[in-house]
């Protein structure tokens, strides 16, 4: 499907105003619709980074597939990581409708110019981390994705709807693991609490900087690609998760955690934004390892990709020699 390139008179104020009015009225923008070049660029950036996150996200959890302690957990985790590959795939395909090839997007990830969610730069140190990730990281992602299911760009919204359906099992699986550990042996309970201690704050950081510090947001809100603020989403996640932690008798690692009767919100202590930026900028515990793993997989896989393409080209030549590729 070939989308329209931006018109020479692209940022015509009338067209732009019509475009923004359509979005305000709740219309969906599809690949062949006129769109401001900047909208297209923002979406390519957002969607490809989301896709990269799904793919890089396979690594911390994939780390425990071979050590999953029961057959049922082994199969569940393998299925979850497989789903993540699928989610990356849906979103890459959605991004391709905007006129960019997946090969190019992957190059951007591997050469470090594209970002991915920095939560995946943390290591998985015990089996309990698998529970914490499903519960908190997928939990946070669901809060974000539910909002994106109403994004103005059709292919993105549709990919999100598909993903949201599949995500619910991920979060439940994670929470069930934590619940089982928290009510298990003393060692298991300690393992679960330790994982919560390490994953709680990075999960809160997944929602991005406080609204007051966030630059891209206004434009993304106006264009219907972001419909709720970082802080709103973060608060929603906090309220859900605190209740869930209490239900399984685990302690949120925040001495300042307090319930505000008036707003009916759980308020948290200060988030360490130094840590956030440090990890985003490349100095998290696993940044190098994550990228190295993806680069290796991609490099090691080149002969395979090329072999398949070569074979197909030869077959095509055999079938219609007059239409040599």
């Amino acid at each position: 499907m070939t989308p329209n390139k931006a018109d020479p008179v692209a940022e015509d104020p009338t067209r732009l105003a019509d475009f923004e009015a359509r979005i305000a009225a709740g219309a969906t923008i599809e690949p062949k619709d006129w769109m401001p070049e900047r909208y297209r660029k923002q979406l390519v950036r957002m969607m490809s980074q989301h896709a990269h996150s799904e793919v890089v996200g396979m690594l911390p959890e994939g780390n425990w597939i071979t050590r999953a302690p029961s057959l049922r957990r082994k199969m569940s985790l393998l299925a979850k990581v497989q789903d993540e590959a699928g989610h990356g795939l849906y979103i890459y395909c959605g991004t391709e409708t905007l006129g960019v090839d997946r090969h190019e997007l992957i190059q951007q990830l591997l050469n470090g110019t594209a970002k991915y969610s920095s939560i995946f730069n943390y290591p998985t140190l015990t089996w309990a981390d698998i529970g914490a990730i499903g519960w908190l990281v997928d939990g946070a992602a669901i809060v974000n994705q539910t909002m994106l299911a109403k994004a103005s760009y059709g292919p993105y919204a549709r990919a999100m709807v598909r993903i949201c359906k599949e995500e619910n099992f991920h979060k439940r699986q994670g929470f069930e693991i934590m619940a089982t550990l928290a009510s298990g042996t003393r060692e298991q309970k300690r393992m679960a609490q330790d994982a919560l201690d390490r994953w709680w704050w990075p999960s809160l950081m997944m929602f991005g900087p406080h609204d007051s510090q966030s630059s891209n947001s206004d434009e993304l809100m106006r264009w219907g690609v972001k419909r709720k603020s970082n802080d709103e989403l973060r608060q929603r996640f906090i309220n859900l998760s605190v209740a869930q932690a209490k239900a399984i008798d685990l302690v949120i690692p925040d001495p300042q955690l307090a319930y505000d009767e008036q707003t009916e919100n759980w308020t948290v202590g200060p988030i360490d934004w130094d840590e956030f930026w440090r990890v985003v900028k490349g100095n998290g515990p696993c940044n190098r390892e994550r990228l190295a793993a993806r680069r290796t997989a991609h490099a090691d896989g080149e002969w395979v990709r090329v072999a398949a393409a070569t074979y197909a080209a030869k077959q095509a030549q055999r079938e219609s020699p007059s239409e040599a590729a």
């Binding site: 793919v55 396979m58 690594l59 994939g62 597939i65 071979t66 050590r67 999953a68 302690p69 029961s70 057959l71 049922r72 957990r73 082994k74 199969m75 393998l78 299925a79 990581v81 497989q82 590959a85 699928g86 990356g88 795939l89 890459y92 089996w127 693991i177 089982t180 298990g184 042996t185 060692e187 298991q188 793993a293 290796t296 997989a297 090691d300 896989g301 080149e302 002969w303 395979v304 990709r305 090329v306 072999a307 398949a308 070569t310 074979y311 197909a312 030869k314």
Partner: protein, 257 residues
């Protein structure tokens, strides 16, 4: 429905371990690719095959445990047996290697497993027959997937053909074991619960040689066939694989997950 007579139980138990262990070990090897496959579509495809095999293993080991009647379950069999008590064929415990090794091994195993499962659909044990019927559908797909890839690798580039040929050469000596029958096989074939693997070989040869031939790959002349897996005499690879697979379960005796 556990219907084996007391005398038959050890043989049936052994036989089910062989079926289950093949699939568990191979499924585990395939799962090692998750997040590292050559392309996203293949991450998904290999995970699918791994899930099918581990699912079959779970059912077969569960059945084995019930027949044994010693209070074990599938997890106890999977996570608390040492390598010398595993009964998988040596072929499936080989490291995953490069993509060619994985795909060639998958072809060699899946063609065998499909023939075996098709025959097991007629098992006199209803549970075995049921597991086999479901497995047949899955294994047909595994054969299709791996055969398609073998053709692509053999007929692709110089490099892919060289890697595929190396894989065939290295793995071929492990294929004979699949068809070696012993007293256990003969006993279960007698009662109709299981299937003697040796009659399956000629169909296997014919299918495998056809695919490899079309892929431009040659088969080594009379290789000595390695054996021992069915009796617990494994390569050094299995010990390392199980050490990784079992570490968490063994570190917390009696815990539930």
């Amino acid at each position: 429905m556990v219907s084996a007579s007391p005398a038959a139980v050890p043989n049936e138990f052994e036989y089910l371990l062989r079926l289950g262990d093949d699939r568990l070990v191979l499924g585990h090897r395939l799962s090692e690719w998750c997040g590292h496959a050559p392309i996203l579509e293949e991450d998904i495809a290999l995970a699918n095959i791994a899930l099918d095999l581990i699912g079959q293993a779970n059912l077969l080991l569960g059945l084995a445990a019930r027949i044994e009647r010693k209070g074990r379950d599938a997890d106890a069999l999977a996570y608390l047996r040492d390598a010398i008590d595993y009964r998988n064929a040596l072929l499936v415990e080989m490291p995953k290697g490069d993509f060619a090794v994985t795909i060639v091994r998958q072809l060699l195993y899946s063609v065998f497993a499909l023939l075996q499962a098709e025959a097991l659909q007629r098992s006199t044990d209803a549970d075995v027959a049921g597991i086999a019927a479901k497995a047949v559908k899955e294994l047909r797909y595994h054969v299709r997937h791996s055969a398609d890839w073998v053709l692509k690798l053999g007929g692709g580039t110089t490099e892919s053909r060289a890697r595929a040929q190396r894989a065939v050469d290295d793995l071929w000596p492990y294929t004979g074991e699949l068809f070696l029958a012993d007293d256990v096989d003969r006993a279960v074939a007698q009662t109709g619960i299981g299937v003697d693997p040796s009659p399956l070989e000629s169909s296997w040869q014919s299918t495998v040689r056809d695919v490899l031939g079309r892929a431009g790959l040659t088969i080594p002349d009379s290789a000595y066939m390695q054996r021992g897996g069915r009796q617990g005499r494994h390569t050094e690879h299995l010990g390392h694989m199980l050490a990784e697979m079992q570490i968490v379960a063994r570190s917390h005796p009696g815990a539930s997950w």
